[in-house]
Structure formats: structure tokens, C-alpha cells
């Protein structure tokens, strides 16, 4: 119960454009690792750009990908926790480490499509605005 009282502060830099912009890829597999990876060397370098669709071979599997922009008025953020506290009652801090304005999502074998769930998820902010915007009298 007591952990309901703790807050997680988002530490922002003095100016957001000081934060590096990074390419982000949503991969269609679970990679059981957190840490450095040679993404540009093994993924980006071998990606083929064909019209709107990207293709790449990843671990012998054909991936089809597409770039998605963040919804208008929205920015992509990567938050990282710093100084993990020892107990759940202490406040925590996450730091804005990088930003992105578009992401690339990859499907395993299947061509990308407008009804891919991540594409539809980008509609959420617009729907949320209807649900949460102020009503008129």
C-alpha cells in the first residue's frame, strides 16, 4: 500500500533538442537481452527500401517493415531509470535519454498493413482527446 505514495520523477534536460534523436525499431520477436547491439551494422545496413516497404533478413527470417510517424503534437521518448532506490517506498527518477519522431515496425513475413495493431494504436491520442477534452455547456 505504502508504495502508492511514491512518485517517479521525469528528469528533463534544459532543452529537449539537446537529447539525441535515435532510430527505433519495433521487432516482431522477443530478444532476451538488454544492452548494446550492433543495430546499424546488421539491421540498418542490410535493409532494402522498396517503395513504401522495407525488407530485411534478420536471423534468417524475412521481415517486412514500415516507418510510422508519431501522431501530430506527440514526440517519442526513451526514459531510463537512474539511481534505483532500494525500497518501493522511495521516490524514483527516470531520465529522458533520447527522442524519436518516427519508428520502424517490423512484421515477420507478413506485409505491413494499415490494420496492424501498432498502426491503429497511433489513433489512440485522437480518441483520447474526444474522451478527455472539455465538454461545452
Amino acid at each position: 500500500m505504502s508504495c502508492n505514495t511514491s512518485v517517479t520523477r521525469v528528469q528533463l534536460p534544459p532543452a529537449v533538442d539537446q537529447v539525441p534523436r535515435v532510430p527505433v525499431h519495433l521487432m516482431p520477436c522477443e530478444i532476451e537481452h538488454d544492452g548494446p547491439a550492433q543495430v546499424s551494422q546488421y539491421l540498418t545496413a542490410t535493409t532494402k527500401d522498396c517503395k513504401q516497404e522495407k525488407t530485411v533478413s534478420f536471423r534468417g527470417r524475412g521481415l517486412k517493415g514500415q516507418e510510422l510517424s508519431c501522431p501530430q503534437g506527440y514526440t517519442g521518448l526513451v526514459l531510463k531509470e537512474i539511481n534505483k532506490p532500494g525500497s518501493d517506498q522511495e521516490d524514483r527518477t527516470v531520465k529522458l535519454t533520447s527522442t524519436f519522431d518516427k519508428l520502424t515496425y517490423w512484421n515477420l513475413e507478413t506485409p505491413t498493413n494499415s490494420d496492424d495493431t501498432v498502426v491503429m494504436a497511433m489513433d489512440w491520442p485522437e480518441l483520447a482527446e474526444a474522451i478527455h477534452g472539455p465538454v461545452e455547456d
Binding site: Q11, M27, L77, T117, A121
Partner: protein, 306 residues
């Protein structure tokens, strides 16, 4: 095995990919940093994660968009946790409402800062600092002013009218979205199913009612259904012919005709279940209670699970 995997995940999970309004990170306007706080979820009555913007002027909802078997590449690193978090502005009135309803049972006019108090969730009093909170109380309460002090008493009638307006706004947005989906899409493989013009008004209303019901108690949700003059569906599943369902998985977002799904018992029961798993993986950052967004875009998600 599965539980072991989960544990390693939560131990190492210290990074999140988030989509948030520009205003959250606009440091020009900020004198203090935004923060994630836990507040009482009006639907579940339990802790959920929200965000308060700088100076508490704006409340945000935090939702996780999650699909099985996904991970991120972020720059030159790999992040195992493949969730995408959405932070979107939220109407604080949804969170204030349960406190007013509770105190309204006494039938007295009370100062709102004495009503919106919660030992378990002390951050709830910060909701009253949000820009529109105090001004919009009149949508859910009667107001009395005595010697420059304001007193409020919950009004079911006003609340129903307010919620109805919310539903109407949502219906309008759904229709708008539906149109844009029907036209500008870059669908390459699917032959577009002829657009179905007769999503009737009731379907839209039910869908919107389902969306709003995520933010109010079940009792209030039932009252709202009556207020909208929609009959309660006793067994929504049987009213859906299976053939219709199959078609849904082929169509893009216009699949919205499956609106009734949101009102099915199945839908109501599902989120808490999901929350528990979210709770496990997110224990580290107190992201308890975030619901997977895929439930909002059920057709595809459902289809994939089969």
C-alpha cells in the same frame, strides 16, 4: 519457466519507450518536472499509474500498447520489453468524481478540498490543481458560494448530462476517424472491403459508451446506459453472428462495427487480468494498472490470439 522469465524481465527492465504530447517535454514552460503518480482508478478502485505535468496543471493517462513477442532496438541497443507506452491528456474529473459521489451520500454541501482526500493515495489532492478541475466541477456537482467559499454536492443528474456529452464527443471522433481510415489508407494487400455505410447510431453509441466506461464505476456505467436509452445487452456474444466476426478480422479499423464487444462481460473482466501481468513486469516502476491498448483495437488483436 514462464514465471522465471518474468522475474528476470522485471529485474532488468529500466528503460521505456514512450509516446507523449510535446507539452510534456516542453521545458520552456516548465518550472518543475513532470512525475508519474499512482491514483485510484475509478473503474477498478485500485492503483493505476498516471502522470501529472509540470506544476500539476495537466493530468495524463498512461497506457501500454503491448503485443506478445516484441522487443525494441533503440539506437544501438536492444531493449527486451517491447511495450509502447502512450501518455495522453486526461480529464481529471473522472478521478475526482468517485470522491464526490462518496461524500454526496451524506447529502451535504462540502468544500471540495475536504472531499478529494485519500490516505492511500495522497497525490489525489493534486488533481484539484489541474487547470480545469475547479471550473469543471459544475458538470458533476451543485455549487454554493458562501462568503467567497465554494461548496459542492454531487449531482447524479448533472453527471449523467456531462457523461452523455462525453459520449457524443466520442461518437463524433469515431465517425471522423472512420472516414479518414476509409479513405487515406496505404493498404496494399487487402482489397478494401466496400465501406459499410450503415454503422448505425446505436453501434456508435455503444462503442463510445464502452470507451467512457473505462473511466467510471460499473454502477455509473449502467446508469449511463439507461440515460442514453440503450437497452442492456444480456448476452452480447450471441447477438453477434459468427460470420460477421470473421469479416472483421479482414477489415481495417472500420471493423468498428464490433462495438458491442466493449460491453460484453468478457471485456469488463479482461482488463484486470491483464493488469496483473502488467503489475508483475512493471513492479519496478509502479506502472501497475496500465491497461494494454490493444483492447481498444480489438478486432486484429483478437484475431491474432486465436
Amino acid at each position: 519457466m514462464a514465471t522465471k522469465k518474468k522475474r528476470t524481465l522485471s529485474a532488468q527492465n529500466d528503460s521505456w519507450v514512450v509516446i507523449a504530447p510535446d507539452s510534456v517535454v516542453d521545458t520552456q514552460k516548465h518550472d518543475s518536472d513532470p512525475s508519474f503518480v499512482r491514483l485510484r482508478n475509478p473503474l477498478t478502485d485500485e492503483a493505476s499509474l498516471y502522470m501529472l505535468g509540470s506544476g500539476d496543471v495537466q493530468l495524463f493517462e498512461v497506457k501500454a500498447f503491448e503485443e506478445d513477442f516484441h522487443s525494441w532496438f533503440v539506437g544501438q541497443t536492444v531493449q527486451r520489453d517491447g511495450r509502447l507506452l502512450f501518455i495522453t491528456p486526461m480529464d481529471p474529473l473522472y478521478l475526482i468524481l468517485p470522491y464526490l459521489i462518496k461524500s454526496g451520500k451524506e447529502g451535504k454541501f462540502q468544500p471540495v478540498d475536504q472531499v478529494v482526500m485519500d490516505e492511500e493515495f495522497p497525490a489525489c489532492s493534486r488533481l484539484l490543481s489541474c487547470t480545469h478541475s475547479l471550473a469543471s466541477l459544475r458538470h458533476i456537482a451543485e455549487e454554493k458560494e458562501v462568503a467567497n467559499l465554494k461548496f459542492h454536492r454531487y449531482s447524479q443528474e448533472k453527471t449523467m448530462d456531462w457523461l452523455k456529452k462525453k459520449v457524443e464527443r466520442t461518437v463524433a471522433a469515431l465517425k471522423k476517424r472512420h472516414i479518414s481510415v476509409g479513405e487515406g489508407v496505404k493498404s496494399s494487400t487487402y482489397v478494401r472491403v466496400k465501406s459499410e455505410p450503415d454503422h448505425n447510431e446505436e453501434d456508435y453509441l455503444r462503442y463510445a459508451h464502452g470507451l467512457i466506461s473505462e473511466y467510471i464505476s460499473e454502477d455509473l456505467s449502467k446508469d449511463l446506459l439507461r440515460h442514453l436509452k440503450l437497452p442492456e445487452l444480456t448476452s452480447p456474444k450471441e447477438t453477434e453472428p459468427p460470420s460477421k466476426k470473421r469479416k472483421l478480422s479482414d477489415t481495417p479499423v472500420e471493423a468498428g462495427e464490433d462495438y458491442t464487444k466493449f460491453n460484453s462481460a468478457d471485456f469488463v473482466r479482461k482488463p484486470p487480468k491483464k493488469m496483473t501481468s502488467a503489475q508483475k513486469t512493471l513492479a519496478k516502476v509502479d506502472k501497475t494498472g496500465m491497461k494494454p491498448m490493444s483492447s481498444f483495437f480489438s478486432p486484429k488483436a483478437k484475431a491474432e490470439k486465436k
